[in-house]
């Protein structure tokens, strides 16, 4: 979060500093930085609450600060698992694992895994899913 905050603060400060008085630019940059710090706190808390647990028969995914959620996805119900990595995630070597069941409401995803971990988790879940697959 710190890096984008710094970039945004610098850009916002210089833009408003050029078009208005230089002092305005400094104030804008300070405001953006403060906002970034607050957002950073929230994001850090959010990331800390995110967790998953592989049990014998199902996978638990927990997340959320304000709204805390706990999803229980039985291995036998997984239809497919996908691993995705956006440009920012890629630059940090991270990936998101997402589990899909036949239900549209299921929202089990685990972000921020290292790419190796993500691939391992995916393969592991896929094997478990295959061995326990149940029909609709």
């Amino acid at each position: 979060v710190a890096v984008p905050t710094g970039v945004v603060a610098a850009v916002a400060g210089s833009v408003s500093g050029i078009s208005n008085a230089p002092s305005t630019g400094v104030i804008v940059a300070a405001c953006v930085t403060a906002l970034g710090v607050v957002v950073d706190r929230f994001v850090q808390r959010r990331v800390r609450t995110w967790g998953y647990c592989e049990r014998d028969d199902d996978l638990l995914v927990k997340r959320g600060v304000l709204f805390s959620r706990l999803s229980v996805v039985p291995y036998g119900r997984m239809q497919f698992i996908d691993v995705s990595a956006g440009p920012i995630e890629r630059s940090f070597g991270l990936a998101t694992v997402r589990m899909h069941t036949a239900a549209a409401a299921t929202d089990a995803r685990i972000p921020g895994l290292s790419r190796v971990d993500a691939a391992e988790l995916r393969d592991h879940l896929a094997t478990l899913g295959e061995s326990r697959a149940a029909g609709l």
Partner: protein
């Protein structure tokens, strides 16, 4: 109760042995079969109506020549469609071989589908309106497997479809083909009245009622703006009506019956749909009790079935949808149905803690949940109460959620996700202690349920009536099949049906007949206007549709035909009264009730008519392929002089009449190369004056009525008219100083003393003497604006009597001299009719409309 057209092969399909054999031999193995040749037509469905209508519109529209290319384009487009349809029919074929159904299709990308019949779960029959008209049906194969793959055979003839269905099922169950399928037990069917009431009481129905009421009251209070308001909301209305209609048609006479493999639903007024909800495929059951229905004790029940087909059957894989197994019914109906779909639904439910009222004040009174070993039930809903039943074995995932308000109140919610996106049960706002305890329990229950159903196939085969199954896959069946069929006996062959084609033909024929009667008796007749085309184009289509539906699904008896014809005959008569601009205005007798000879062309070529006093006493002298015009009745009413092109060029004829106006004979007076026209009698009835046109010139001639040689009176003159006293002939001729300015002239009957008397407008012609001979009514105006003028014989007192944007032509005077007769297109209905009016232009009345 049972639909004979949808009779499953429980009854021998096709009681007629010959027909059966033909159909059977046509389905022998190792032979490729094509679909019915009309399949492409039926498949285009509704687009076909639109196409035909557009084509009709294009063909009847008479536009400038530039539109011809557009017309050709339309034809080409239609031709391409037809060719494409024929090709698709040619390249599609199917056959049954070695327990597999193969369907090959595609010209460029050839695809061959194989459906192993051991995996066949059910065969549904779908019959859209057009298919029913042609007596066709579509078979949809539903195979075991998660994706719910489907095979479509669209379309086969009804008997073929019945036989093939029986055969496929027999092959699938590995039993002899002749074995009748286990009977079905009809559970209930939805009464139409209740269905209509329930739709009207739904939010959509109410909004339609409100919109209709507002529009109606608005139209009554301010008729002037009615057109605008109706036009502005037309799209909304159409959309609403379409949705309502879909709902109505989809659930019309929904009959739920219990078959060996699940619940069988049949519904539809126009599009008949038969489908099967397989035991064990039900993901969830939802019961909704809308607020407005609650006083009536009604509810609606859906099942969520994974892999169900979309109604149109176009997208086959992702057809997960809620199906209303009970569109409207009492709670007792719902309870009975639930017992069959989910035999051991939990009965007791627990209420949430009272502090949940703070979080969801509106929902609180509806919230509760319950569970047992096999399934769970939740209720929720703010306005309508929604109850969901989910078997543990079908739960996809569980989610525990706690929001900030819930945390304060120590509450939490557990979501129970099932396949698809339609139903997910929610155990809402429970005490956290309870949820912490329940969640692991639910997880364990679901796991146990999954395990117990794991490895067993979810669909059941029951032993069909005493035969043994060769496979070892005999399954449990939660609901026993009743030992005796309590369905109605199949209809006897003696019962008479209207076949689809008969009905399809009968309705338009009835419509045509009704139109003819209406035209004759009420004066209603088709107008060549776009509005009328719309009415004429669509009302029959709607009529046919409704009639076919009524005839085939409701009445299904001889009376169906009678009702159908009655509707078709009565509709045009009603339309003649209701549709604006169609009803013919009243025709008034001309004062003095004169006899008039007129020529008119109501149906093509112009012919002679004799009006004896008024329009009700009109004598037609027969329709001829040649033209008869310029009719003039002699003063003694015993002869009509007229011009006809019977022998090539126009010649002068005289028809002799008896005293009551019937034709005795027709004589030919002239046979020159010129074209005779504009005939007038002398007051004594002995001579006839007329115009002969040849090349550029026109000459006024006179001839003895008994025959003889015509004598030229005036060159470059036309429209001769004898004065009542016989001393003058009025005619029109150009002004000597300006050849384009036509004036009214008079001359002596021997052609002497020509005198230019009236010069009112650039073009004055067609003079008509008043009874006293003092005044002349004539047509005047410029090229495009014609009006009726009046002037004294000496040219004084020129007065425009009838002028306007319509084309008005002077025709003469009534015998008593009180009215001027004129021809006008003032009705704007595409014809020129005879009117009369006071000499000052007031009190215009229609005299004759042909």
């Amino acid at each position: 109760v049972t639909d004979p057209l949808h009779q499953m092969p429980a009854s021998p399909p096709g009681t007629d042995p010959v027909r059966k054999d033909v159909a059977r031999s046509a389905m022998s193995e190792t032979k490729w079969h094509r679909l019915h040749p009309l399949s492409p037509v039926v498949r285009t469905g509704r687009a076909l109506y639109v196409l035909v209508f557009l084509l009709l519109l294009t063909m009847t529209r008479e536009g400038p020549n530039g539109q011809d290319s557009r017309f050709v384009l339309d034809i080409a487009f239609a031709a391409v469609l037809v060719v494409a349809g024929v090709i698709s029919w040619l390249v599609t074929r199917w056959r049954v071989e070695e327990g597999t159904l193969r369907i090959e299709t595609g010209l460029i990308r050839r695809s061959s589908q194989r459906f192993p019949l051991v995996r066949l779960q059910a065969v549904d029959t779908v019959r859209p309106l057009l298919a029913r008209v042609f007596g066709l049906a579509e078979l949809r194969l539903r195979m075991a497997g998660d994706a719910g793959t489907s095979g479509r055979l669209a379309y086969l003839t009804e008997s073929q479809a019945d036989l093939l269905r029986a055969r496929l099922l027999a092959l699938a169950h590995r039993i002899a083909e002749e074995t009748p399928a286990p009977p079905e037990r009809v559970l209930f069917s939805v009464p139409s009245g209740r269905l209509i009431a329930s739709i009207l009481l739904s939010p959509l129905g109410l909004s339609v009622i409100v919109v209709g009421a507002v529009l109606l009251s608005g139209s009554v209070m301010a008729p002037a703006t009615a057109g605008i308001s109706v036009g502005g909301t037309a799209v909304t209305i159409i959309v609403l009506m379409t949705v309502l209609w879909r709902q109505f048609n989809g659930d019309f006479e929904l009959t739920v019956s219990q078959a060996h493999d699940g619940l069988r639903l049949r519904a539809g007024l126009l599009t008949m749909n038969a489908e099967t909800i397989l035991q064990g495929r039900v993901q969830a059951v939802r019961m909704v009790e809308p607020l407005l229905w609650r006083p009536l004790g009604w509810c609606r029940m859906h099942v969520d079935v994974a892999g169900r087909h979309r109604p149109q059957g176009e997208s086959d894989v992702e057809g997960r949808e809620l199906r209303a197994v009970l569109p409207v019914g009492t709670r007792e109906d719902a309870r009975r149905l639930l017992e069959i779909i989910m035999p051991d639904a939990p009965s007791d439910r627990i209420r949430p803690p009272s502090r949940a009222r703070l979080k969801t004040p509106l929902r609180y009174h509806n919230l509760s949940w319950g569970r047992n070993e096999t399934s769970l039930v939740t209720t929720s809903g703010r306005v309508a109460r929604v109850t969901d039943w989910v078997p543990h074995a079908k739960v996809q995932s569980l989610r525990w959620v706690q929001g900030p308000v819930q945390r304060r109140l120590r509450l939490a919610t557990i979501h129970v996700d099932t396949a698809g996106r339609n139903v997910h049960a929610t155990i809402r706002d429970r005490d956290t202690g309870e949820t912490d305890r329940v969640l692991p329990e639910l997880i364990a229950l679901c796991r146990a349920a999954r395990r117990s159903s794991h490895g067993t196939r979810q669909w059941a085969l029951v032993q069909p009536l005493g035969t043994t199954l060769s496979t070892a896959t005999t399954r449990h069946l939660s609901v026993p099949v009743p030992p005796r069929p309590d369905i109605a006996p199949p209809p006897s062959a003696a019962r008479w049906h209207w076949s689809g084609l008969e009905i399809a033909l009968a309705a338009p024929l009835g419509w045509l007949g009704g139109s003819w009667v209406a035209w004759r008796s009420l004066g209603w007749y088709p107008l060549p206007s776009a509005k009328l085309l719309f009415v004429l184009g669509w009302v029959p289509v709607l009529l046919v549709g409704l009639s076919v539906g009524l005839a085939r699904s409701v009445l299904r008896r001889r009376t169906a035909g009678m009702v159908l014809m009655a509707i078709a005959v009565a509709a045009p008569m009603v339309a003649a009264h209701l549709v604006p601009g169609v009803k013919q205005p009243t025709q008034y007798p001309i004062p003095g009730r004169p006899w008039l000879a007129v020529s008119a062309a109501p149906n093509g070529a112009s012919n002679l008519y004799l009006m004896k006093g008024d329009a009700d006493h009109l004598v037609s002298f027969g329709e001829t392929p040649w033209t008869e015009g310029s009719a003039a009745l002699s003063p003694d009413h015993r002869h009509i002089a007229f011009a006809s092109n019977r022998y090539g060029s126009y010649d002068l004829f005289v028809m002799d009449l008896d005293p009551s106006g019937n034709r005795i004979r027709t004589r030919r007076l002239t046979d020159g190369p010129g074209d005779e026209s504009e005939v007038a009698w002398s007051p004594d009835g002995r001579r006839i004056v007329f115009t002969v046109r040849g090349g550029e010139s026109s000459t006024i001639h006179v001839i003895e009525a008994s025959g003889g040689t015509p004598r030229a009176l005036a060159d470059n003159a036309l429209n001769p008219e004898w004065s009542p006293d016989g001393r003058w002939i009025a005619y029109s001729a150009p002004d000597p100083s300006d050849r384009t300015d036509y004036d009214i002239w008079v001359m002596r009957p021997d052609g002497s003393h020509p005198r230019d008397v009236i010069d009112a407008t650039p073009t004055d012609w067609s003079p008509g003497w008043s009874a006293d001979g003092g005044r002349i009514a004539f047509t005047g105006g410029r090229d495009d604006h014609w009006g009726v003028y009046l002037a004294d014989v000496d040219g004084a007192g020129v007065m425009a009597v009838m002028r306007g944007s319509d084309t008005n032509q002077a025709f003469g005077w009534s015998p008593d001299g009180s009215k001027i007769l004129f021809l006008s297109d003032r009705s704007h209905t595409g014809g020129t009719f005879l009117y009369f009016m006071n000499p000052d232009g007031t009190n215009v009345r229609l005299a004759l409309r042909l």
